[in-house]
């Protein structure tokens, strides 16, 4: 209960701070954000878009790990956890794609222009889509669980290839290499605090949703088992 109240207040503060704090060229006090050259107010998306993409990746990895756990132990609970994580990952993936596309319209002039980041999130969407298409076409529970786990492992292993391949084909306009050319985070302290608390907040929301849905699916599964008896 306390966790939920703290999370609610925290995320409200993050949203207010992310949207309402003024951006000035020389921030002197803690409630002012620096101007990001070339992006201005559009830079505020970092507080909401990056956490959704982050949660999307976290969810994918969670789903993968539970999938491996299922293959090792053959416990149906792990499959429930794996599919729950994948479902949430799909949701956050869509959120990240849509927020990114809207931002891209106002910054680069088009909703979609196959920037490397857009390509990689598109592939992630495709993998999630294929994963659910596969699941819906297998009726036997154990078979569905092990095949979808195998598929997500294979799909997960092809993802690193994009890191090597995409830079060979196109260069990115994504602000990440522009804001952090050395790969280090050097943001203004206020920005960093808002960003990190948004990241934590979104991860906590994901964790909460994950637990809720796992509980729900477990109950549903037990109900089905009873009906079968």
């Amino acid at each position: 209960m306390v966790f939920k109240i703290i999370l609610g207040i925290g995320l409200t503060l993050v949203i207010i701070a992310g949207i309402a704090l003024p951006m000035v060229s020389n921030p002197s006090s803690f409630f002012e954000l620096p101007v990001v050259p070339g992006l201005e107010d559009k830079a505020r998306i970092i507080f909401f878009h990056v956490p959704t993409a982050w949660v999307c990746v976290i969810a994918f990895i969670t789903s993968l790990i539970y999938g491996i756990q299922y293959l090792r132990t053959k416990e149906i609970l792990y499959d429930i956890k794996s599919v729950t994580a994948a479902g949430l990952g799909f949701l956050f993936c869509i959120l990240a794609t849509v927020t990114g596309a809207i931002w891209s319209k106002f910054t680069w002039g088009a909703f979609w222009n196959w920037d490397p980041r857009q390509t990689s999130i598109f592939v992630l969407l495709l993998i999630y889509g294929a994963y659910f298409a596969l699941r819906s076409s297998i009726e036997v529970e154990e078979k569905r669980a092990s095949l979808s786990a195998v598929y997500s492992i294979i799909a997960g292993l092809t993802v690193p290839f994009f890191i090597f391949i995409i830079p060979r084909i196109v260069s990115s306009l994504h602000p990440d290499p522009i804001i952090n050319p050395q790969g280090k985070i050097h943001m203004n302290p206020t920005m960093l605090v808002i960003f990190l608390s948004s990241l934590t907040g979104f991860t906590a929301v994901y964790y909460w949703m994950f637990n809720l849905r796992v509980r729900f699916s477990k109950l549903l599964y037990q109900q089905q088992m009873k009906e079968q008896e």
Binding site: L126, E139, K143, L147, Y151, I154, L157, T158
Partner: protein
Amino acid sequence: MNKIFNINSALTIFIKDFRSELRTRYALNALIMFVITTLAIILFAVANETPSIEISAGILWIVIFFSAMSGMARTFVSEEERGTVMTLHLIAKPSTVFFGKLLFNLILLFLMNIFTVVLYLILIPSFIIKSYDIFLLTIFLGTIGLSAASTIIAAIIAKSNTKGTLYPVLSFPILLPLLMIVIKSTKSALEGIEIAKAMGDFQVMIAYFVVITAVSYLLFDYVWKD
């Protein structure tokens, strides 16, 4: 050695598949007709235009991808349909079955790709290869990568209800990195780049094949056993 897999049994499974293919010619006929139809549609669509290097390199791999998708799906589905899965379970280890099927897919895809490329070279006059070494290596490495990934996906979809439609859907995200790199490499073959500059691309293709084959080998047990 016994633990890993038996090369002779894998060869036996390959020969069995090859013989049954020669008798029915199901996949071969379907593949040849598929390639011809697709190329005819492309020729009608292109009509009198000369497609640029980028477009003709891309189209070649679109033809290869979808032809592979229409032919490779049969490898495991046919076993399910004929009801011979149980027999294979009894007589061979999962890894043996996997490598036998992989070999069969490899040969089938090689034949198909040679046919496609020859036809493509004849029919599309603007498709002129300037560095043959890059082109041949790309076709070779692209084919082995494609067959490795399509074999394990074929094994997965053989157990599902919607076999044919699901196959390209599941394969595309897995094959996308390979397709991107082979299209780029084909483009450099058309542009006539020296082979030394294309080495990085080949390394990625080899790595892709090795990773996919290793993972398929490790995971095939879970797919194959009921």
